[in-house]
């Protein structure tokens, strides 16, 4: 039961990461390598501020803002300096490794002493078990973000962002500044990624310079899995798909650990999961088509 509850909390925190990837991968159709660095940057900035005695909510939002700045930088490298998309993300993430180390004052930053955002909420209802508060915080954050993003994508600005990802030539021909939209999209995406990192660090009680490693793949697995599960076509379902995908991914991981999988094999499991969700739905459709014809 504990594993299930813990997987739910982790899944909800990583759903925020998945929402970020719905924007960069699902909407803008780019594989943004900034993600691994931005996730850690969110954790590092929030952790540094928490240790410095700053309020947990302010520290968490500052972490998200740091990630957004990283995304904006990657976007500017792409659109202003004409750096190829993959390289732009790689440059930001590589630079962020050193910056994160400097911010944390080392490779690891324990957050045991200061009050985290989860503990702040737990203090409001001391009688409620910690695990329930953690899930409640996760649900609150994810639900607010999904609603806010859904509203954003129904605005003129959001629609322009959707159009750039779908057909940049068309978007430009109706007056959308595709460069500015790419920068905005990557900023927004990495802001969410860093928010996820800030929450994750507070949940596990420490920030680590390596904690972003593999987060891009984990997030992509959630987005692709969610898309296939919900057959998402429009943005509202794609956002919901990201959340569902993140939760299912964490339940698969929790299940594998319960079944005796070594924790060091988790990244391998995530990679295999991503490969499976990319390949299997198409194969199964073809197989079903073959049976129907046969």
């Amino acid at each position: 039961m504990n594993s299930f509850l813990s997987a739910t909390t982790t899944g909800l925190i990583l759903a925020v990461l998945a929402l970020g990837l719905v924007i960069s991968y699902g909407v803008l159709r780019t594989v943004d390598l900034t993600v691994d660095g931005a996730f850690t940057a969110g954790a590092a900035v929030a952790g540094m501020l928490l240790v410095g005695g700053v309020d947990a909510t302010v520290a968490t939002l500052a972490g998200a803002l740091a990630g957004a700045v990283c995304g904006l930088l990657t976007g500017l490298f792409q659109t202003r300096l004409r750096v190829p998309q993959l390289l732009a993300g790689m440059i930001t993430t590589t630079g962020l490794y050193s910056i994160n180390l400097l911010l944390m004052g080392g490779g690891n930053l324990p957050l045991a002493t200061p009050q985290t955002v989860f503990e702040s909420f737990a203090a409001l209802a001391p009688a409620v078990p910690a695990v329930v508060t953690e899930i409640a915080v996760g649900v609150l954050v994810v639900a607010s973000l999904v609603l806010a993003l859904r509203r954003f994508f129904r605005s003129a600005l959001g629609l322009s962002l959707l159009a750039v990802g779908d057909n940049a030539a068309m978007a430009e021909s109706v007056g959308v500044n595709t460069g500015a939209m790419t920068v905005l999209g990557l900023g927004l995406s990495n802001g969410l990624v860093a928010l996820s990192g800030a929450l994750f660090a507070q949940y596990q009680g420490f920030a680590n310079v390596q904690m972003g490693l593999g987060m891009l793949v984990a997030g992509l697995a959630s987005v692709v899995l969610g898309d296939s599960l919900l057959r998402a076509r429009f943005i509202g379902r794609r956002l919901a798909g990201g959340v569902v995908g993140a939760l299912v991914t964490r339940y698969v991981v929790a299940g594998a650990l319960l079944a005796g999988l070594d924790a060091s094999a988790l990244k391998l499991l995530t990679a295999i999961l991503l490969l499976a969700v990319l390949v299997l739905p198409d194969r199964m459709r073809r197989l079903a088509g073959g049976w129907r014809r046969g």
Binding site: R154, A156, G158, L159, S160, N167, M170, S173, G175
Partner: protein, 270 residues
């Protein structure tokens, strides 16, 4: 009003594959004129439209739209004045967005992107009324993805989009070439109707001599990045397809003559 002064655009300049797409093109298209652009393959017809739309950077020359010098404006800024329809019916709209969302995007052309709702009820009803004019029955399907429409339906919606938001110039790049004959005729009629209704300055690139004869009030012929012939006024009204065929044959013969002369020179002196 579209004013083009001495436009020069060379692809692959200084290389063996250098192509002079525009070689000193100057042209004035007064407000409300419908100009048809004909030309041989690679004559620079489509590049001319791309340059006016701002999607290709000129090496030399000046472009004025409605009297404003837009030469250095990026494409998205020019879009406030310019509507564009591409040859490929799938290029001019976003397949993953609904018909209503595509139309809303076009209707917000030239205005600032804000966080206000893109499709409030009143606006959707206005767009529904616009779509009704197409006569394709799409007004009941505004929420379906654009990608589910046929090529002809999609090109008709794209054409409508190119006239929403108040542009004064309409650029049509062989926009009926990829359609079946029935859809082609529908889109062609719609083009004439929309151009007249919105009093647009239209520039249409085509390979069809028939369009050059029946559509518009002026025709230009392009060859190797230059305007080699213009028909307007009485000459345009009296223009027959055969005249255009004859002129093209003449151009091709001159070109063949040029090539054989160059070949002879190469053999004699190199």
């Amino acid at each position: 009003m579209v004013q083009l002064e001495d436009l020069h655009l060379t692809f692959g300049a200084g290389t063996r594959s250098e192509v002079r797409a525009l070689d000193g093109v100057s042209l004035q298209v007064p407000q409300g004129d419908f100009l048809v652009v004909l030309g041989t393959n690679g004559s620079g017809k489509s590049t001319l439209l791309t340059a006016i739309a701002g999607a290709a950077r000129l090496q030399r020359g000046r472009i004025r739209l409605e009297g404003r010098d837009v030469t250095k404006w990026p494409a998205h800024r020019r879009a406030a004045m310019v509507g564009r329809v591409f040859q490929n019916p799938y290029q001019g709209s976003a397949a993953g967005l609904s018909i209503a969302e595509n139309l809303a995007l076009a209707a917000q052309r030239g205005s600032r992107n804000t966080l206000a709702k893109a499709l409030p009820r009143a606006k959707k009803e206005l767009l529904r009324a616009s779509v009704q004019q197409l006569g394709l029955g799409l007004e009941q399907r505004l929420d379906v993805p654009m990608g589910t429409l046929s090529g002809g339906q999609r090109q008709a919606v794209t054409l409508l989009m190119a006239t929403l938001g108040g542009p004064s110039v309409l650029l049509l790049d062989e926009h009926t070439a990829a359609l079946d004959p029935r859809s082609e005729e529908q889109v062609r009629q719609l083009t004439v109707e929309l151009v007249h209704r919105h009093r647009l300055t239209a520039i249409m690139v085509t390979h069809a001599m028939e369009h050059a004869v029946t559509l518009g009030n002026r025709v230009i012929l392009m060859h190797r990045g230059r305007i080699v012939e213009q028909y307007e006024g009485t000459f345009k009204r009296r223009l027959r397809e055969q005249d255009l065929h004859d002129r093209f044959t003449e151009i091709r013969n001159t070109e063949l003559l040029d090539e054989s002369a160059a070949d002879l020179l190469r053999r004699s002196y190199v």
